[in-house]
């Protein structure tokens, strides 16, 4: 499983740190909350896509328990980041470069994710109204490792006999 909210929170921390923004000024999108008068940003989760087929790891193959199947894959997550008010477009336009800084790479590595690529930054303030507050938006793609664990039923009990020339070994796969 993947905790998308945790990835979103990590990104908010990273963006706030990269631009030295005040505490809680990079927020989840679509909150029914007062905006405030200072510059802020929002991070919205958009899509998740697995990159290729997943590897499978089986464990507990001792027939005394169910077999645990762990599927593991890399996934790419897309987040929409919006900046509002002073310098909004400049921040959006420079985010791709900022995410490639050593500071960002270290942070993402410690949070088990990596930066993949970004879209072109868009100046949304010009699209709405020249009198509207300044807004800048950019999509960023990060990759993470996602896992999915399921229990598989074990096999039933059956006798087993192996004969090699003069020797016969009888055994039984027991349990279950």
């Amino acid at each position: 499983m993947i905790d998308v909210e945790a990835v979103n929170r990590s990104l908010r921390t990273l963006i706030r740190t990269l631009y030295a923004l005040p505490e809680n000024s990079v927020r989840p999108a679509f909150q029914n909350a007062p905006v405030g008068v200072d510059a802020l940003a929002s991070v919205q989760f958009m899509t998740l896509k697995l990159d290729g087929a997943a590897d499978e790891i089986l464990s507990n193959v001792d027939l005394s328990n169910d077999v645990s199947s762990l599927k593991c894959s890399q996934a790419t997550l897309v987040f929409s980041v919006q900046f509002f008010k002073d310098g909004a477009y400049a921040k959006a336009a420079s985010l791709e470069l900022a995410l490639q800084s050593q500071q960002a790479i270290d942070f993402m590595r410690s949070n088990k994710m990596g930066f993949y690529r970004a879209s072109a930054a868009r100046d949304l303030s010009a699209l709405v109204d020249s009198e509207w507050e300044q807004r800048g938006q950019i999509d960023i793609e990060v990759f993470v490792i996602v896992t999915d664990t399921r229990n598989l039923a074990t096999y039933g009990k059956f006798p087993l006999e192996i004969t090699v020339d003069s020797t016969t070994v009888a055994s039984e796969v027991d349990d279950q």
């Binding site: 929170r9 809680n24 990079v26 989840p28 909350a33 007062p34 929002s42």
Partner: protein, 121 residues
């Protein structure tokens, strides 16, 4: 011409409503948690918002919501907001519906306040 301040003294036009005070904090990287407190009851005249009222209050993209207009006496303290400053109060109607006080105009000189309410539930 109707004198609204006089209507607010007429029991045929007003009913008992309740204020729900809302205050909130940002924590955990910008996550907002609001706390609601049931506050005082008050008398007010509640009616559907006309197109003119919605245009007057300029709600932009929120115009598709359900709106009402509330008239109260100047002494009734209701915190309305445009989402920029502090969070706004909510009003609980007698039928259980809850409305946010999104905009307001203070006509104290004429004996009333006019508040635009947006339905939340």
């Amino acid at each position: 011409m109707i004198n609204i301040s006089e209507v607010l003294d007429d029991p045929d036009f007003i009913k008992r409503l309740q204020i729900i005070s809302v205050s909130g904090v940002f924590t955990n990287e910008g996550e907002y948690t609001a706390t609601e407190t049931d506050d005082n009851s008050f008398d007010g005249a509640l009616q559907p918002a006309s197109e003119g009222s919605i245009v007057e209050f300029n709600i932009e993209g929120e115009r598709l919501s359900e709106f009402s207009v509330l008239y109260v006496k100047p002494g009734v303290e209701i915190k309305w907001g445009d989402g920029v400053g502090e969070d706004c109060d909510k009003i609980k109607n007698t039928d259980g519906t809850v409305w946010r006080a999104v905009r307001g105009r203070d006509f104290t000189d004429y004996g009333y306040k006019k508040i635009l309410l947006q339905r939340t539930k």
